[in-house]
Structure formats: structure tokens, C-alpha cells
């Protein structure tokens, strides 16, 4: 058993100093070594500026195409090569075209049995007078469904890219007001006459898609253009009475899901030489050709909403 020593005596031992140094509670150099008082490091503003300028100059010299000789040479070479390549491409394509069968003649590989089938049986099988409409909305309807989804996806992506939050939105609206003359009397008067006519023409083009030239895509684009004109003349307050983000969402949802369901229904009942229970009607009547008219309306709604949505999002980042 070791004898008990008082604390004052222990403080003089080496072990006490060693452990205190180890735990870091005391700096052994403090008060023992001669030191200059430490100052905080201060950046010399002039030197820093010079340093930054030098850095910028180096970067400029390396990356600025106007001052970098190698980059300049590369640019010249790039221009020359691309022009030569394009001339070569023109020559190559023209030579290829000169060996193609002549335009306007009948005996070409393009005019094969598929086109013959569409023309000969199209009216009978789809009931559409316009063979193109019968083709894209009956024989190749899945293609058109994919295309409507391309439009929808593009709208969503543009919305992601251009979306603003609430305060930014208000600012955008304000700046929009600042940069555009509102309540232009001439524009408003012209729009009052033109917009109904444009929209009625669009509806006519959509509803006559199976009877004449036109259809969902063109009619939808015409209606969208009419809406854009209305928006330009009267501003967002008037259009937001009937068209907001919610309207867009529901119209697109119902149109696209109606298209999906209608087309899968048609496939289940009409494919593989089975008889479709949807009546074809007399060719030439407005209520004919089975599903083509409702599908045209669905596509037209999607296209019109998409075009309006593109414009509204470009204008103020949301609608």
C-alpha cells in the first residue's frame, strides 16, 4: 500500500505536469517561450485585386477564343471543315436523289400494297371519308395516342423548366404589365370580332376531321391560336375566368384516358376480324365513322390546351 501524498506535493511531480499537458488543459509553452503577439491575417486589397486580375487574364488567354491562337485556329478549321462537309453532303444527297425513281410516277416502291389497302378498304372499314383521318385514328391509332402523350410530356417539362414560385410570379406579372401596353383599343376591337370566328373555325375543322381536310391536330392548333389572341388582347385576368392550371389538368386527364379506354375497347371488340359493335354510320354524315369523331375531339382538346399552356408558361411561368 502506497502512502498518501497531499495534493500540493503531487502538483510538483512530473506525472501531474505530463497528464495535464496530455489532456490539453495547459499549454507548456505559454509563459515559457518568448513569442510575438499574434495578429489576425488581413488580406492586402491591392495584392488581392492584382492576383485576381492576373488570374482572369490567364483564364481569358486560355479560354477566350478571340485571344487564344490555338482556339482561333481551331475555329477557322471548324468553319472550313463544316462548310466543306455540308457541300459534300449536298452533292451526295443530290447524286442519291438523281438515282431515285421519278416523282409523280406510279411505279415506285412507296406505292405498295399498304397504301392500296388503305385507299380501297379504308372507307368500308373505318367509315371515314378522309382516308388520312381514318388511317391515323383507326389503323394507326396507337401512334396518335403516343403523340398526344408527347405533347403532354412536353408541356410538363416546359412547366418544370419555367415554373416560378409565388413571389416571382407576382413580379413576372408586374413586369409583364410594364413591358406591354394593356387595353389597346384597336387590338381589343379586332379580337372581339376575330376570336369567335377563329374558335368556331377550329371547332368546324375538328368536327369535320373525318369528312374533309383537318382533324384534331389542325383544329386544336387553330383553337389554341384563337385563345392566344384573346389572351394577348385582354390579359390574363379574363382568361383565368375559364382556363387555369386545374382546367388544363382535368381536360388533359379526361381526354387522354378517354382515348386510351376507347382505343383499347375498339381493339378488344374490333380487332382480328371481329365485328365492332360501334356503328359506322353512313359515310359523309357528321355522326359516322365510329370512334374517329370522339377521338378527334379528344386530340383537339389536348392540342388546344397544350398550345395555350405553352404560351402562358412562356409569358409568366405558370397559368
Amino acid at each position: 500500500m502506497s502512502k498518501k501524498r497531499p495534493e500540493s506535493e503531487y502538483q510538483k511531480t512530473f506525472a501531474f505536469h505530463f497528464f495535464r499537458w496530455l489532456s490539453g488543459s495547459k499549454d507548456p509553452y505559454l509563459g515559457e517561450v518568448e513569442m510575438h503577439p499574434q495578429k489576425e491575417y488581413q488580406i492586402d486589397p491591392e495584392a488581392a485585386l492584382r492576383h485576381e486580375k492576373e488570374h482572369d487574364a490567364i483564364l481569358d488567354k486560355v479560354y477566350d477564343p478571340k485571344r487564344n491562337m490555338g482556339m482561333k485556329l481551331f475555329h477557322k478549321l471548324y468553319h472550313a471543315t463544316s462548310i466543306i462537309f455540308c457541300l459534300f453532303l449536298i452533292a451526295l444527297l443530290l447524286v442519291t436523289i438523281s438515282w431515285l425513281p421519278a416523282t409523280g410516277t406510279v411505279n415506285r416502291p412507296v406505292n405498295n400494297e399498304v397504301a392500296e389497302r388503305y385507299i380501297e378498304k379504308g372507307l368500308e372499314e373505318t367509315g371515314a371519308v378522309n382516308i388520312v383521318a381514318g388511317m391515323i385514328l383507326d389503323y394507326r391509332a396507337f401512334d396518335t395516342l403516343g403523340e398526344s402523350h408527347v405533347l403532354f410530356t412536353a408541356t410538363i417539362t416546359v412547366l418544370i423548366l419555367l415554373r416560378l414560385n409565388k413571389t416571382e410570379k407576382n413580379e413576372a406579372e408586374l413586369s409583364d404589365r410594364r413591358f406591354e401596353p394593356k387595353n389597346d383599343a384597336i387590338l381589343q376591337l379586332v379580337a372581339t370580332f376575330l376570336v369567335p370566328i377563329i374558335i368556331i373555325f377550329g371547332i368546324y375543322v375538328i368536327l369535320n376531321g373525318h369528312l374533309g381536310p383537318g382533324g384534331g391536330f389542325s383544329g386544336g392548333a387553330v383553337i389554341g391560336a384563337g385563345l392566344v389572341l384573346y389572351l394577348n388582347a385582354f390579359g390574363f385576368k379574363k382568361t383565368e375566368r375559364f382556363f387555369t392550371e386545374k382546367t388544363y389538368k382535368w381536360i388533359c386527364f379526361f381526354s387522354l384516358s378517354f382515348y386510351c379506354l376507347a382505343k383499347s375497347y375498339s381493339f378488344y371488340t374490333g380487332a382480328n376480324q371481329l365485328h365492332s359493335i360501334i356503328p359506322k354510320g353512313t359515310p359523309g354524315a357528321i355522326l359516322s365513322s365510329g370512334l374517329i369523331l370522339p377521338l378527334n375531339i379528344a386530340v383537339g382538346l389536348v392540342v388546344a390546351c397544350t398550345i395555350y399552356a405553352f404560351y402562358a408558361m412562356f409569358r409568366k411561368g405558370g397559368f
Binding site: A154, L161, P283
Partner: protein
């Protein structure tokens, strides 16, 4: 050279337009002009497809008076393909333009060379 260059003048114009658009895409530094060049290329391809379906002396594929013989109408397939393509090209244009706006808000320039120079200066 083959025998049909003069008869195929529509296709030749389509090829030349395609190359003009492609040159625009390669040489223009302005982003909006690049997008216009891409649109010109689009139109050239549509023109080529439509020329392929055209047959002289026949009418558009809309049945008139119940005549459904192949001799009366042009080929409807290219029309359908191009109709699909035109609408898709609009959505592609809108997407590219929105990307352009994002680039402009970040770099305050439309010049692609300046954007790449700024990118390199930032060390990316």
C-alpha cells in the same frame, strides 16, 4: 449522276434545305438561330416525305362520290406521318426555347461560345 435529277426537283430542294439547316446548326453561335435551323431541317424532311407520296394527276385522299379505286388518289401514308411530325416538332421547339430561357437567365447571353467560355472560367 443518275437520270432523274430534274424530275426529282422537289426532293433536290428538300436535300438542299436540309443541308442549309444543318449548316445553320453547325455554324451559328446564336441559340435561337440554331433552333430555327433545326426547324428548317424538320421541314425539309417533311417535304421529302410528301414528295415521295405525290403522284401526278391524282387528288388528295378524300373519297369523292364513293370512288375507292387506287387510281384516283395519292398515297395517304406520307401525309399521316408528316401530320404526326409537324405537331411533335412544335413541342420540341417549345422545349428547346424553354431551355434557352433557362440558359439566358443563368449566363445572360445567347451566344454558345460565350456560354462555354463562362463555363470553363467557372472551372466546370
Amino acid at each position: 449522276m443518275g437520270p432523274n435529277l430534274l424530275a426529282n426537283y422537289g426532293e433536290a430542294v428538300a436535300a438542299i434545305l436540309f443541308c442549309i439547316g444543318f449548316t445553320n446548326l453547325l455554324l451559328q453561335t446564336n441559340l435561337i438561330k440554331k433552333i430555327i435551323g433545326l426547324n428548317v431541317m424538320d421541314s425539309a424532311i417533311y417535304l421529302f416525305l410528301a414528295e415521295k407520296g405525290y403522284i401526278a394527276g391524282r387528288v388528295a385522299p378524300i373519297v369523292v362520290n364513293g370512288v375507292t379505286s387506287t387510281e384516283a388518289y395519292i398515297n395517304p401514308i406520307p401525309s399521316g406521318l408528316v401530320l404526326t411530325g409537324i405537331v411533335v416538332s412544335v413541342s420540341v421547339t417549345a422545349l428547346m426555347l424553354s431551355l434557352t430561357i433557362r440558359l439566358y437567365t443563368r449566363y445572360h447571353t445567347l451566344d454558345l461560345d460565350e456560354i462555354s467560355a463562362q463555363l470553363k472560367k467557372e472551372g466546370k
